[in-house]
Symmetry: C2
Subunit: 312 residues, 2 copies
DNA sequence: CACCTTGATAAAGATATTTTATTTATTTGT
DNA sequence: ACAAATAAATAAAATATCTTTATCAAGGTG
């Protein structure tokens, strides 16, 4: 059997005539006869009662008519369903993000994207950078947002946002807000930091190393797995810290903590979108990837991209 | 789109390989590649992620997989549904019958037929012979059972059962049960008869005419539309009548009425199956038509055919 | 590094479908 | 009733489509 046969059959039944169906289908009448005959032969029944002046469905024809309508409709629907996928009217993808981009960048991005493409379901996973990379290689996520790369051999990695780390201190710290201190002054302080291996910690230690200070010279009094918890600890006067500006912004504005500038210490760090080049493209994931750089058309890009210079 | 493409697609997806699908489908691997490519081109999406060692469905492929399974299953079902019709596992037809065959022959026939072909739905209409013929020409019924024909030009008409009319009288009538009376004796009697135009009445009048008695010579004291009602009236002593043996049999056996023989009066009459030759065949109706003559295989024909000589 | 498996591609060959031309049957208009 | 018209069937040629054989390229394996 064959969809062409069914389609021709439906039109012959609908228009009650081989010639009429042929015109409707832009084919010759013998071709219609041929399709109907081949279908009748296949099924072993006459489908039409050909007679004086009219062509009428037999019982088997009536039965087939109902079934064929459904099949042809269903097969046409396939095209539109696949098209919906291409046109981002439907679809889904999974994005993984490390904590800073996941908590401070992704929510707004997702919000804007969802407003633009309401039919797309987005699944989000948040964990450490290493886990995000593992998920990607494992093909459990379509895209990742993270602060640092580990292996990176098969992974496409594009910077999409420049974050910077800021030195924060409790409001009652002897350094004044906005004061510029020297790098060596840091050695005397007590630090509360994210665990080793976290993107933030690695960035900070790399910056110090560039300024000739080894990580062992710092006095780390506490390690915490959550940037928000660290900020809370700094607020409480337990020590000072270096955290992503993205996370510190609100407590800074509220005066719960203060920012200290360190002379000559470069604390900028890129945030990256990562993607497995060797894996297939998912329309929605690709659209989101583009969206990260271009932003929504009806909304001049995610706010994070405005605050920090977007990097193509 | 085309069912072949979908079928090949399903097997490639199922077996996760072009070569494996090719073997399963008894075709060459390039033919499989061709079908998948043409489908991908048609839909404008990649359906498989072809890679080292494995072939994996893309998102669009997964979507298509679900739809294609249904379509292919549905199209396969068509063949079996049509086959059920051919094999009389399903189907329906409408039969019309005049009162005598409809009430005394058809019930048993239908019962036997239904036992033999339980999937077939039978619709029955009962009315006068003229109405049955009109229904047939109007194509409202597939078959008809009746006692007499009117036009008959386009109608195939086969006798399937010989009925005979019997003269019945009340138990207390002066004629004795089984007594043979002369035709002229009938003129002195008071008759209760079916209406003019009914098969029974026409047969009776035609028989009388053959014996030289015109219908005006009879004294008809009552006309009734129902044979059963006539028998009741005869029981009650309102007169005598001539009715189908089929209808009179039970009251005769119970002694509620008695049968009188009329010397030299031929009251046999055929019952006919009628069919419109110029109309299409319905599998179930045709099977029933055959069944009327051959009877059920597991049940030596309908009892009516045993009591009266069946006529081929 | 030779060898095997898997899918893609090209070109020839085989099928299937469509068209043009014609036939048959029936209907319609005069 | 007879020519013209309409509708479907059929035959043969033309075309389109699908399949195969042969071959290639890439990746994995012993």
């Amino acid at each position: 059997m064959n969809l062409k046969q069914l389609e021709v059959f439906l039109w012959v039944a609908e228009l009650k005539g081989f010639t009429k169906a042929a015109k409707r289908l832009y084919m010759s009448q013998p071709a219609v006869s041929f399709q109907i005959q081949s279908l009748e032969e296949l099924l072993g029944v006459k489908l039409f009662w050909r007679n004086e002046k009219n062509v009428i469905l037999t019982e088997a024809g009536k039965l087939l008519f109902e079934q064929a309508k459904q099949i042809v409709a269903h097969s046409n629907k396939i095209k539109s369903v696949v098209n919906d996928l291409k046109e981002l009217k439907t679809g889904s993808f999974t994005i993984g993000a490390s904590t800073i981009p996941g908590e401070y960048v992704l929510p707004k991005l997702i919000g804007d994207f969802h407003r633009r493409f309401p039919g797309i379901q987005i699944n989000v996973r948040i964990a450490g950078s290493a886990q995000v990379e593992a998920w990607l290689l494992n093909r459990e996520i379509d895209l990742g947002l993270c602060g640092a790369l580990i292996s990176g051999k098969e992974i496409e990695c594009l910077p999409f946002l420049t974050d910077r780390l800021v030195l924060i201190a409790p409001p009652d710290h002897r350094w004044k807000s906005g004061e510029e201190v020297k790098i060596n002054d840091l050695i005397k302080e007590e630090f509360i930091l994210r665990e080793s291996g976290s993107g933030t910690r690695k960035t900070f230690e790399a910056s110090l190393a560039r300024s000739g200070i080894s990580k062992e010279q710092l006095s780390v009094v506490m390690e915490m797995g959550s940037t928000r918890a660290i900020i809370g600890a700094v607020e409480a006067g337990l020590g000072i810290s270096v955290v992503s500006f993205l996370a510190a912004r609100e407590p800074l504005l509220l005066g719960l903590i203060k920012e200290i500038t360190v002379h000559n210490l470069d604390l900028d760090r890129e945030l990256y979108v990562i993607r497995d080049q060797s894996w297939m493209n998912n329309f929605a994931a690709e659209a989101f990837h583009d969206f990260i750089f271009t932003g929504s058309p009806d909304n001049q890009g995610p706010s994070a991209n405005k605050i920090f210079t977007p990097v193509s």
